[in-house]
């Protein structure tokens, strides 16, 4: 950081920024083109979704023209880009609201879930990964690897259903699907969209408790997958670091083992770990479609599923673009962090 900002570095930074922006724009345009084309080639009639099954041909035709589907494809695409850039993803057939409003409405539910799951993932995954790396080849290492492997290979919806069967149906410890018990629905007026915060704001402690309660199972489930992923990654980064010469040097110098691991080695894993955490958070944000479906969790994933099942193309494309944009953003952010944390990357 202490290096002087000379003209050359300034120019270089500018050039880099421009390059990144150009790359972003082209990636985003590609995303738009692909989603647009998918929307046009699926053998689903979007007009039918609007007018229903028994509409007269006249009604059908009017709707087709109103939706701009009679224009040539390139024109439709240009209109589409123009709309998306201004945040207009069209109107959802299902909800009759602008898609962007819908996404803003359902997003907090997903965010709530993703943040909780990421916290669980970090708090458990990283220490266990380190532990596993340090004890490489031991019995405990094998246990950790099995845990990590399950999180890589077990279908999440199956585990979700099992979780419900066990904790909700059999043991009665945790509540069933949804964000709150159904009869609590509609009592708290959404202010932030985050039910926990909203229920506190409304002074509805019963509902807050109920909401926390409902979050445990889906968040733990997603947290487990996040944990398994971080565990695997941390383990391999750490093993990589522990083989390095500087670790040997530190040990020879008599640095405490604890400091060697948590200080030297982990410090050097921090950078790739940040990227991995950011990416896993992005994955969780995309709504973990299956989890939300299993738990009837009204977030972006469930919204996307419902839209797909109902041929609500505007909503499908809108959500897809939002998810794509989140991914791009997360990637960019972790690149940026990389540069801040690692002087070599500047």
């Amino acid at each position: 950081m202490s290096e002087l900002l000379t003209r050359t570095t300034l120019v270089r930074t500018l050039k880099q920024t421009v390059r990144i922006l150009v790359m972003l724009a082209t990636t985003f345009l590609g995303l738009l083109l692909i989603t647009f084309l998918i929307g046009r080639v699926v053998p689903i009639d979007p007009v039918l979704a609007v007018v229903g099954d028994k509409a007269s041909p006249q009604v059908y035709e009017n709707a087709r023209i109103a939706m701009g589907l009679d224009l040539p494809l390139w024109k439709q695409f240009l209109i589409y880009i123009g709309n998306v850039v201004t945040g207009d993803f069209g109107t959802s057939v299902l909800t009759a609201n602008p898609v962007i409003d819908d996404i803003l409405r359902v997003f907090p539910a997903t965010f709530e879930l993703a943040v909780t799951a990421t916290v669980i993932g970090i708090v458990l995954g990283i220490p266990l990964g380190i532990f596993s790396a340090v004890k490489q080849g031991s019995f405990w290492d094998h246990v950790m690897r099995v845990i990590g492997l399950f999180g890589h290979s077990l279908p999440i919806f199956w585990l979700g259903l099992m979780g419900l069967m066990f904790f909700y149906v059999r043991l009665d410890l945790l509540p069933g699907p949804g964000r709150v018990d159904i009869f609590y629905e509609g009592i708290v007026t959404p202010v932030t969209g985050f039910l926990m915060i909203d229920s506190i704001l409304a002074g509805e402690w019963e509902i807050f408790r109920n909401a926390v309660y409902h979050l445990i199972l889906p968040a733990s489930l997603l947290g487990y997958y996040s944990m398994a992923y971080l565990l695997r990654m941390t383990r391999s980064f750490m093993i990589e670091q522990l083989r390095q010469e500087y670790i040997l040097t530190a040990r020879v110098k008599g640095v405490k083992e604890w400091n060697v691991i948590w200080g030297h080695a982990l410090g050097n894993c921090a950078i790739p770990l940040i990227t991995v955490i950011a990416l896993s958070f992005g994955t969780l944000l995309e709504g973990s479609v299956l989890t939300e479906t299993v738990f009837a969790w009204p977030g972006l994933g469930l919204y996307l599923t419902n839209s797909l099942l109902n041929a609500d193309m505007n909503a499908v494309l809108g959500s897809t673009i939002v998810v794509g944009a989140i991914f791009l953003g997360v990637n960019l952010f972790s690149d940026f962090l990389y540069k801040v944390v690692d002087p070599r990357a500047r």
Binding site: L48, A49, V93, L94, A96, G176, E185
Partner: protein, 526 residues
């Protein structure tokens, strides 16, 4: 680290108590697949679940008795008179009704509501426009005589019950003119707002609606009739039968509306759950496209009707969820034909195929929606067709996909279902036995058109039946029509749907009517 542990521990203490597994006494909670709802405007409602909503949130001009469909009784219309020439209907409007908004209901609202259906021209508009109403003539044909009298002029002397039954449908709902017009945008008659809003006078009012998520209804304090028993009804969108069953068994919901035959069977022994059943107007059928070179041959059509294991499907796949039915009018309708001449008879089918010159069978596609029970039915049909050498290629797709193809007449065989739009027999005769123009760009595209079945003679008979004002004679006409239809049509009608509702034992008086828009919550108690 330690503080974090303490925090998590404290939080766990806060929430670990056993879950409360019952719903409040004055709230009815229902698990129901409601993702088909795209509009809450009665002038645009055309799906099963939204029609049920309208039945509970809006009043209609006329109602019918759910246990005796042929008995109609006054709703918002207190009484009516029909002129001798059968063209003019005069309705006396009930005085003393208020909308949920507090506005008083009068002839203005009735005239506005009916005209609005015609002017908006959404999916259900045909229910009224078939009587000759057009956006241009509604000012003359649907008029206010005084504050509590409405006069309606139809274009032909139809059977009176035909017109009156159409007014018992969702299209006959009365909306609050003042409230709706207060939200008008660009001359849309308030449709944009009412799609997600509410302007009715029914026993329940809309409190919350989130598409594919939840509907919350509150008791209408201004309701003019018997006050609703429960203060709130919550309908939660739950897709899978397994999830619905789980919630019901745990007592988190009072009712499950979409359970499969398997799930219902496993509930039979549960004392806390009771099952309500009612035959509905929906029928399951195959449509055989007459553009297909094999299917257009009469003997082949006939043979296929003998190649279906009706009994087997009724007892296994559909166990308790549908009943054998082979005519286009569902049981409960005027003139419904109860005869079931077809059963699985492979020898007979083979002989018919031989006569047609297809001794070795042929290959044909069947567009199949990926949803139960349709998928299982398709598999059963595939296996029995194969016994006579007919190879069926099942083409799976979602509902919108298969329907898109069907509407474009690009299918060979379509397996589907059809629900009547109103309680008069014409509703199904109009679509199964009437095809005024079979050309590709026809104005009307009923099911007969979709299967490219050109029937000028049968179309004439169908038109005559709707003008017959003698009810007994009219019923006979429909019986004859269905017998002929059964024999020659490219429709293989197989089953009539039975709606099954599983509810907690303490739920009483949930009224399950003969139609999807005659399920009522008004008298339900817990």
């Amino acid at each position: 680290m330690r503080t974090l542990f303490l925090f998590v521990f404290a939080l766990s203490l806060l929430v670990i108590q056993t879950a409360q597994a019952s719903t409040p006494k004055d709230i009815l909670v229902m698990a129901f697949n409601i993702d088909e709802i795209i509009s809450l405007d009665p002038a645009g409602i055309f799906e099963f679940a939204s029609a049920e909503y309208a039945a509970n949130a809006y009043d209609r001009l006329i109602n019918y008795n759910v246990d005796n469909v042929s008995a109609i009784y006054p709703g918002i219309a207190e009484s009516w008179e029909i002129s001798d020439d059968g063209l003019t209907y005069t309705f006396k409007i009930r005085n003393g009704v208020s909308f949920a908004s507090g506005n008083k209901l009068s002839a203005d609202d009735v005239v506005f509501s009916l005209r609005r259906v015609v002017l908006l021209d959404k999916s259900p508009a045909f229910i009224l426009t078939q009587f000759g109403f057009t956006p241009e003539n509604v000012k003359k044909t649907i008029t206010k005589v005084d504050d509590y009298t409405v006069k309606i002029i139809v274009d032909q002397a139809y059977a009176p019950s035909f017109f009156l039954y159409c007014l018992t449908s969702t299209a006959g709902s009365v909306v609050d003119k003042k409230e709706v017009m207060a939200h008008e945008k660009d001359g849309d008659l308030g449709h944009g707002w009412l799609k997600t809003g509410y302007a009715g006078s029914g026993p329940y009012t809309l409190r919350t609606w989130k598409a594919s998520e939840i509907i919350i209804l509150d008791a209408n304090k201004n309701y003019w009739g018997d006050a609703p028993q429960l203060k709130r009804v919550i309908i939660r969108h739950i897709v899978g039968s397994a999830s619905q069953r789980m919630l019901l068994e745990k007592g988190d919901v009072d009712m499950a509306r979409n359970l499969t035959a398997d799930d219902l069977k496993s509930l039979e022994s549960n004392k806390d759950i009771k099952i309500q059943k009612r035959a509905k107007g929906r029928i399951y059928y195959l449509g055989l496209n007459q553009k297909n070179k094999y299917l257009k041959i009469p003997e082949v059509r006939q043979a296929l009707k003998y190649l279906i294991d009706y009994k087997g499907m009724e007892q296994s796949i559909l166990r308790g969820k549908a009943t054998l039915h082979q005519a286009f009018l569902p049981e409960g309708f005027l003139g419904a034909l109860e005869e079931t001449p077809f059963s699985l008879d492979i020898e007979k089918a083979k002989a018919l195929l031989k006569k047609a010159g297809f001794e070795n069978g042929f290959t044909v596609n069947m567009d199949t929606r990926s949803a139960e029970p349709v998928t299982s039915m398709a598999l059963s049909i595939q296996s029995t067709f194969a016994k006579a050498g007919i190879k069926v290629e099942i083409i799976p797709g979602d509902g919108k996909q298969t329907l898109t193809k069907y509407r474009a007449r690009r299918h060979d065989i379509y397996i589907g279902d059809w629900g009547p739009d109103y309680m008069d027999p014409h509703t199904n005769a109009d679509t199964f036995a009437r095809n005024p123009d079979n050309s590709n760009d026809a104005k009307f595209k009923p099911l007969a058109w979709r299967n490219a079945w050109d029937i000028p003679e049968m179309t004439r008979k169908t038109d005559a039946a709707v003008l017959e004002r003698d009810t007994a004679k009219r019923a006979q006409m429909y019986l004859d029509l269905q017998r002929e239809h059964q024999r020659v049509s490219p429709f293989v009608v197989m089953f009539q749907d039975i709606e099954v509702v599983a509810e907690r034992a303490n739920v009483k008086n949930f009224i399950l009517g003969p139609s999807f828009d005659s399920n009522f919550y008004q008298y339900t108690t817990k």
